[in-house]
């Protein structure tokens, strides 16, 4: 049980990076969940949907409403700030992976 909680904490730590990485192309909440889940990172809707709003408030995402289909959808994609942040966070992540690999050897 404790290990599961620690693993969940680990996943939470990288969730923002995972979300930003999938928003180079536009996605709406539900489709993003599917994409992340297919990539091996299932996320609860109660975590993901508010996170998207927060990232938008922080200026990392832009959103537009699409009301043409049967149900209205709010699409998110990286803003210019978000693209810069993603590049920087990706580099930071790779560095951390190298550090962690050396620690775990």
């Amino acid at each position: 049980m404790t290990v599961e909680k620690l693993e969940a904490e680990l996943r939470r730590g990288v969730l923002v990076l995972a979300v930003l990485s999938r928003l180079r192309t536009r996605q709406y909440g539900y489709s993003l969940r599917q994409v992340l889940s297919a990539a091996g990172m299932p996320v609860e809707e109660g975590t993901l949907y508010p996170l998207l709003r927060r990232l938008e408030t922080q200026g990392l995402l832009e959103s537009t409403w699409d009301t043409d289909g049967a149900s209205p959808r709010r699409y998110y994609r990286l803003s210019p700030d978000g693209q810069r942040s993603l590049a920087r966070m990706s580099e930071s992540w790779r560095q951390q992976v190298r550090v962690m690999d050396s620690l775990l050897e």
Binding site: Y28, G29, Y30, E44, E45, G46, T47, Y49, P50, R53, S71, P72, R73, R74
Partner: protein, 281 residues
């Protein structure tokens, strides 16, 4: 009620907890996402109201979901809960000691109300300015080390109480008070307290058992004095009882407050670090 009604009810309960500037927008998006979530499930039974309810219960209570969208205002910050409880209990204790019984409930409720306002204001200030109320260091007093002057003052105060108790000057005790069941007990307890303080003064430091013994004896003296006051018939002249006993009751109350403070210090006590070995010379 169908599945859409259940989702609508949930979205409404989430959105009404959000600030007006984001309420409608979040509701619009959340409603669409939840409907799509429900429709996407493969089992046809997943489109029923029961399935919608199960899905939403997995998502969490509306208040929890709303809190993920917008950090709610808290009257008492979680990190301040301990301070609030201590202040509430200390104030409640003082109210119980000092207020007449018919006003106790009202005064206690007033105290809790004042505390809620003060902590709410603190929480509001912290929300707007997280750097407010910055921590400041203060000198830590090692409670085990005896302050000789302080302990001598305590010895003097307890001796004075014992002396006045044994010899009330021009006042005369009643026969009832002088009976073996009433007066001698307090003398014994005061003598024990004096013996304890003299022992600690000689040792130069407090220990766990001496601290707790002092606490128990202080409570015991306060209870004895309080009991004398409530039982009455202490002095031969009833007019003297009326004049003196309120002061004795006040002494009892002060001793209870001191005991409460000592108890709080024991509860929150941080033991000093073990002494580091001195380097060889």
């Amino acid at each position: 009620m169908n599945a859409d009604d259940v989702i609508e009810s949930y979205v409404h309960d989430v959105a009404r907890r959000l600030p007006s500037r984001k309420r409608d927008d979040v509701a619009y998006e959340l409603r669409a996402l939840l409907r799509e979530d429900l429709r996407s499930r493969s089992d046809p039974a997943d489109g029923t109201a029961e399935a919608a309810l199960a899905m939403l219960r997995d998502l969490g209570r509306p208040a929890e979901t709303a809190a993920r969208y917008h950090r709610p205002f808290t009257v008492i910050e979680p990190s301040d809960t301990w301070s609030f409880l201590v202040a509430a209990m200390a104030g409640g204790f003082v109210v119980w000691l000092l207020c007449p019984p018919e006003l106790t409930l009202m005064a206690a409720l007033a105290w809790f109300g004042i505390l809620a306002i003060l902590f709410g204001a603190r929480s509001l200030i912290l929300r707007r300015n997280p750097g407010a109320f910055a921590w400041k260091p203060r000198r830590v007093r090692h409670a085990d080390r005896v302050s000789r002057a302080g302990l001598a003052a305590q010895l003097l105060a307890w001796s004075a109480l014992l002396a006045v108790y044994l010899n009330p000057g021009p006042l005369t005790y009643s026969d009832s008070f002088l009976s073996p069941l009433r007066m001698p007990w307090l003398v014994a307890i005061l003598a024990l307290q004096l013996g304890l303080l003299a022992f600690v003064l000689a040792r130069g430091r407090w220990q766990r058992w001496t601290r707790w013994t002092r606490l128990v004896l202080t409570v015991e003296v306060a209870l004895q004095l309080g009991w004398h006051c409530s039982y009455g018939d202490v002095f031969a002249d009833p007019a003297t009882d009326e004049r003196v006993l309120p002061w004795v009751a006040a002494v009892s109350g002060v001793l209870m407050l001191i005991a409460g403070y000592l108890f709080y210090r024991e509860l929150t006590r941080v033991n000093p670090a073990p002494a580091e070995p001195r380097p060889a010379t």
